[in-house]
């Protein structure tokens, strides 16, 4: 699914990722943890193609294709989805219109026809229900006046509608109360189908109680310092991250 080899990246002149290597097979859930400033969010943003994130070395193959050579929208249409840590508010642009444009773009790319407004409405209403978002949110401006939890649920709803192959969740749990966290996790779990892969970036172990990962990686100073199974997350929760320094990473 995804092969990251020796990826180095820079943001505003600072080297953040340093020769990061990571391989994700179809159907796997990988959790990326680590202290603040380790480069967790940078990884997601580089994979999605965010402007200002400069790749200085390495390569990324997504389903065998050179991901870094693609435009932002091409990556999305190919099936990469980044759930934003801070979803953007866009007043004046209706959520519905935006979602339809996104779904149509993905469908066209797959050689499918665009959905009729009626069929799309049905699909969108159903997705909204699954993340417990009131349908009124579909008609409002994109994330306009949404609470933190509503924004994150809107992200998961978009993920459901776009049916990506690789989902990157960038600190989706931050700022969520336990109810919202469970809704988000249930949405993600429902999408685990043995083929779709996930990168779950999080600062806390809590989320991983609900989205159980196959692999856990600790990111420190721009590279993977340690990898393990889901028990590694519990160990981190108990020990914190200070041991990284002790081990001289």
């Amino acid at each position: 699914m995804l092969d990251i080899r020796n990826l180095s990246a820079r943001v505003e002149g600072n080297d953040i990722l340093r020769q990061l290597t990571l391989s994700i097979r179809p159907g796997e859930v990988h959790a990326i943890m680590g202290p603040n400033g380790a480069g967790k969010s940078t990884l997601g943003n580089v994979l999605a193609g965010r402007p200002g994130y400069e790749v200085t070395g390495g390569e990324v193959l997504f389903q065998g294709k050179d991901l870094l050579a693609m435009e932002i929208e091409e990556r999305a249409r190919e099936g990469v989805f980044l759930a934003f840590q801070y979803p953007v508010e866009i007043p004046g642009v209706s959520n519905m219109e935006f979602l339809k444009a996104a779904v149509d773009a993905r469908r066209r790319h797959r050689g499918e026809s665009e959905l009729s407004s009626f069929d799309f409405m049905k699909l969108a209403r159903d997705a909204a229900k699954r993340v417990s978002l009131d349908q009124a949110f579909l008609k409002r401006g994109v994330n306009e006046g949404f609470s933190g939890g509503e924004k994150k649920r809107n992200e998961i709803m978009q993920m459901m509608l776009l049916e990506p192959s690789l989902c990157i969740l960038d600190e989706t749990d931050s700022g969520l109360d336990i109810d919202a966290l469970q809704v988000v996790a249930a949405g993600v779990n429902a999408m685990r189908d043995g083929q779709r892969s996930f990168i779950v970036v999080t600062h806390y172990q809590r989320l991983l109680d609900y989205i159980v990962p196959d692999h856990v990686h600790v990111l420190a100073v721009g590279r993977i310092a340690r990898s393990g199974g889901k028990e590694l997350a519990l160990e981190l929760e108990a020990k914190g991250y200070s041991w990284l320094e002790d081990e001289g990473v």
């Binding site: 932002i72 929208e73 999305a76 866009i90 004046g92 642009v93 935006f98 773009a105 776009l162």
Partner: protein, 436 residues
């Protein structure tokens, strides 16, 4: 052709009055207008009201008197609305494209004695020429026009829709569309004024003037849409007198052209009057579009809410000057002026200036102006969901003005503009690199 010297231009345009066929009862207004126009100093760079809007384009054309016969035009009206409709093509009335005559709407040339008296009483009296020089030219050249008269306590069952179509002529012509709205006390009306052109190649100069008298408690919804393109020169003005508790709700939208200048002059003449004015300006290419608004609060307890949004693309230039003048007697005034502009290219330009002059001490007044570029984070967000860069930019531009569009109460106007603008943004928004 080179520019005519200023005085020669003023003189040349006035000569057009010679060839007009005009009813006698309009003569005194014409003479007064001609005198004012002749004696006025030509506005130049040092004239505050015209500082950012050079009139050189006007002096490059040698204008002729319009011939008075109906030009050929495609006859496809871009806005379909069930209304009392009057269509003018280069100022010539097109009866076939218009709806059957209605008692409340009459052309000056067909006015009876009573209506003539009504016109004479109000025409040229709502408009003030001190801040709108071209109103005197309109007075000097007035020959025909439209009177909309709504009697006391009456409401028309349909909106009045006045369409001005510009088509290119062999020789450049001056067109002076003139509208007079007289609303008696507690009258209600919906008025749609629409200016369109059949192609980008145009050579006329449209000097439009609309005067509105809202008697006590009268309520007017007024939509004015200027979609003429590129080569057309347009200087237009709307002057509104609001009497006790009258309410004016205005919406104006304009695309740019070689020269387009639109003035709104709203006068709160008596206590309790209120005005809401929303405006959208959308110049692109190398167009120029200038909005000047001036609200005179001459009485207490009046309110004004003015919101203008603009998107300036390519190498276009926009000017927005919003003045609110609160006279000493206008206590308890509530006034709010807001202007936001989006520049979608590095070479687009806006000159924006809110002007508040407050001479009363117990008032609430607020104004604000912002200039921004398309939000790069929002663009990334949309593209990360698969939208193309063009689609993302067009959607964000549309979002910037959508709030004002959604505020249009008239469904036909709202839907027409919605569709028109979505098309416009999808077609024309260039992809230019802007600094993050």
């Amino acid at each position: 052709m080179n520019e005519l010297p200023e005085a020669a231009f003023q003189q040349q345009v006035l000569q057009l009055a010679q060839g007009q066929d005009v009813p006698d009862w309009l003569n005194s207004l014409r003479l007064a207008g001609a005198r004012e126009w002749r004696e006025a100093a030509w506005p130049g760079r040092r004239t505050e009201l015209w500082k950012y809007t050079p009139l050189a384009a006007l002096r490059k054309r040698q204008f002729q008197q319009a011939c008075g016969t109906l030009p050929v035009w495609p006859r496809d009206l871009p806005l379909q609305v069930d209304a009392i409709r009057l269509v003018f093509v280069n100022g010539v009335f097109d009866a076939a494209a218009s709806s059957p005559a209605h008692a409340a709407v009459v052309r000056f040339s067909a006015a009876d004695a009573q209506q003539q008296a009504l016109i004479a009483r109000h025409l040229g009296h709502v408009a003030t020429t001190t801040r709108h020089l071209f109103a005197s030219l309109s007075n000097a050249l007035v020959a025909d026009g439209v009177l909309v008269h709504v009697a006391k306590d009456q409401a028309l069952d349909k909106p009045v829709h006045i369409v001005h179509v510009a088509v290119p002529q062999a020789e450049p012509v001056v067109v002076s569309p003139r509208v007079l709205v007289v609303m008696e006390s507690h009258a209600q009306l919906e008025l749609i004024e629409q200016f369109v052109s059949d192609s980008q190649v145009q050579n006329s100069f449209v000097n439009s003037l609309t005067e509105i008298h809202c008697g006590a408690g009268a309520q007017l919804r007024h939509y004015r849409v200027n979609l003429e393109q590129e080569q057309l020169l347009h200087v237009g003005g709307v002057h509104v007198d609001l009497w006790r508790d009258a309410h004016y709700r205005g919406f104006t939208l304009a695309e740019g052209s070689v020269l387009k200048r639109i003035d709104y002059q709203i006068n709160h003449q008596a206590a309790g009057a209120s005005a809401v004015l929303d405006g959208i300006y959308l110049p692109r290419n190398q167009q120029l579009l200038d909005y000047h608004t001036n609200v005179e609060h001459k009485a207490p307890h009046c309110t004004t809410r003015e919101t203008f949004r603009g998107i300036v693309a390519d190498e276009a230039r926009a000017v927005f000057n919003g003045r609110i003048h609160i006279h000493p007697q206008a206590q308890k005034t509530l006034a709010e002026l807001n202007n936001r502009t989006l520049l979608t290219s590095d070479r687009a330009e806006i000159d924006t200036k809110p002007e508040l002059e407050i001479y009363a001490d117990d008032v609430k007044c607020a104004h604000g102006a912002t200039v921004s570029q398309l939000d790069t984070t929002a663009q990334f967000y949309l593209r990360s969901r698969g939208l193309s860069e063009t689609q993302a930019r067009s959607m964000l531009s549309f979002g910037f003005i959508n709030e004002l569009l959604q505020g249009i109460e008239q469904p036909a106007v709202r839907e027409h503009l919605h569709a028109h603008l979505q098309r416009l943004f999808a077609e024309s928004l260039p992809v230019t690199v802007t600094a993050p």
